[in-house]
Amino acid sequence: MVHALIDGVLTGSVYALMATGLTLIFGVMEIINVAQGIFVILGAYLSYYLQLHFGIDLFAGLLITIPTMFVVGIVVQRLFLARLKGPEKTAMSILVTYAISLVIEGILNIAFTVNNVQLNTSYTNKSFQVFGVYIPYIYFMGFLLAIVLLSGLYYMLYRTRFGASIRASLADQSAAALVGIDVKKVSTICFGIGIAVTAAGGMVFGATNAFNASTSYDLISRLLTIIVLGGMGSLAGALVAGIAMVTLEDLVGAIWSPVWSTMAFFVVLVVVLSFRPQGLFGQQSARAA
């Protein structure tokens, strides 16, 4: 049980990182990016490619993959999502990002085939012992990576001028424009950041799970569940819900049966939404103005 708890927190933090990108995109742009799952897998494949062909370490490779995914995010936002306007914007964004997801999935299947791969290095199969519990190095390093990136993200959001402009845009785009915030620019950069974090999330996911392009469907269902539970657009909600959901899943698997662990994930969602339709940290009327 202790092992399940530790594993849940370590893995949950990585999910929280990926979900933070998703909720940031929704919060600022009102876009539901169902392509987030395939972007995570794309990030994983980028790390795989750099390691396989250039021998670049998984963590060192993030210096290349994170900026690359940021640029991919900017291009996708400018080409496809910036054009979405009006009351149908959010609904249309599901269709547009699903189409993007299918295209990327097709390209990945052609480039890497449908066979499962997993990222392997000297430290992915090693572990260390704490209080009698074996913790794989890759889980712990992934956890540290998520903490560092989330801390950086939170520092940017709460301690910088640009962060203030993001939070203002999250709250009310018209009011943000009235104080001089360039909401279009903020939206583009936020989408870039939201996709950039998938490079890190994808690398850790790929080092702890076998994957192919279609793994993205399981991922996006989990990520969407996390941000709905945490409250759409809430960064704190994504963090808490990410860790809570994966920890719960692992605990149910350890105490009861792994068969029920995924179901527990969704039962919690249904129960919470019955009492708080806006999610744990969401605000019912936050976007009414």
């Binding site: 203030a164 402009s165 939070r167 018209s174 009011a175 424009a177 009235l178 104080v179 001089g180």
Partner: protein, 249 residues
């Protein structure tokens, strides 16, 4: 106040895609005073203010401010020229603190010392900003939020302050404070362009009044002229024109 024309609307047509709300609007806002726009619901008052702040782009016409045409400029460019707007709906960022909200009013000012100095001045001018600096803006009452919005709009030290129905939803006591604050902003050197549902009260303190009707300027003149106009009083000010004595009170 000076009589120099500060903002000049000429031949302005604007709307939201389903036809023009404003039809050939033309009038001038004198420098240094308070100009109040009155008129029935749907006459285009709020749309007119949105054309000034860049939220609605006119289809035709010119809005000249300090020698520059505001038509076609972005909200950000217009802010940079010294025009700020406090919209009709509360526009504070509810999850941010009062101080963060006010500081964001100077988002375009990059010098942190200047921002800090202006913030300190506004804390003196608006005690609510100092008293509730670290509270979330969403926890304030409607009247308090309105005062914080006023403080925020002054962070840019604007030349023109555009206020869209600032008294909306306020109780009578807060309403009085709100009008006093508008007067105070004006006395501090800001030209104020105001749309107000409490038309009689607003016109009393205004140097200039404009009556909009179906997107046209029906009448313009001094605040007292509009207030005492027999037809306007009956139609839009809740009764007939006041006696001369009342009108000048």
């Amino acid at each position: 106040m000076s009589n120099a024309e500060f903002v000049t609307f000429s031949g302005v047509f604007a709307g939201y895609g389903g036809g023009d709300v404003l039809k050939d609007v033309a009038f001038s806002v004198p420098q240094g005073g308070i100009t109040t726009i009155v008129g029935p619901n749907g006459s285009g008052k709020s749309t007119l203010l949105k054309t000034v702040s860049g939220l609605v782009r006119p289809r035709l016409g010119q809005i000249m401010f300090k020698g520059q045409n505001l038509v076609g400029k972005s909200a950000r460019e217009i802010l940079n020229l010294g025009v700020v707007q406090v919209p009709q709906n509360h526009s504070l960022f509810r999850e941010m603190t009062v101080e963060e909200n006010v500081a964001l009013g100077a988002f375009l000012v990059k010098d942190k010392k200047v921002v800090a100095s202006r913030l300190a001045n506004l804390k003196e001018m608006f005690p609510i900003v100092a008293q509730r600096a670290n509270d979330k803006a969403g926890s304030l009452s409607g009247g308090q939020q309105r005062l914080v919005e006023f403080a925020r709009c002054l962070m840019l030290e604007p030349d023109l302050v555009v206020l869209d129905e600032p008294s909306m939803g306020l109780d009578p006591k807060t309403l009085k404070i709100m009008f006093q604050t508008v007067k105070m902003m004006n006395e501090a050197g800001r030209t104020v362009l105001l749309v107000e549902q409490n038309a009689r009260q607003a016109l009393k303190m205004s140097d200039y009044g404009v009556v909009l009707e179906n997107g046209h300027v029906r009448l313009s003149g001094s605040g007292n002229d509009v207030l005492n106009h027999p037809e306007i009083g009956a139609l839009y000010l809740g009764g007939g024109a006041q006696t001369k004595k009342e009108g000048q009170a």
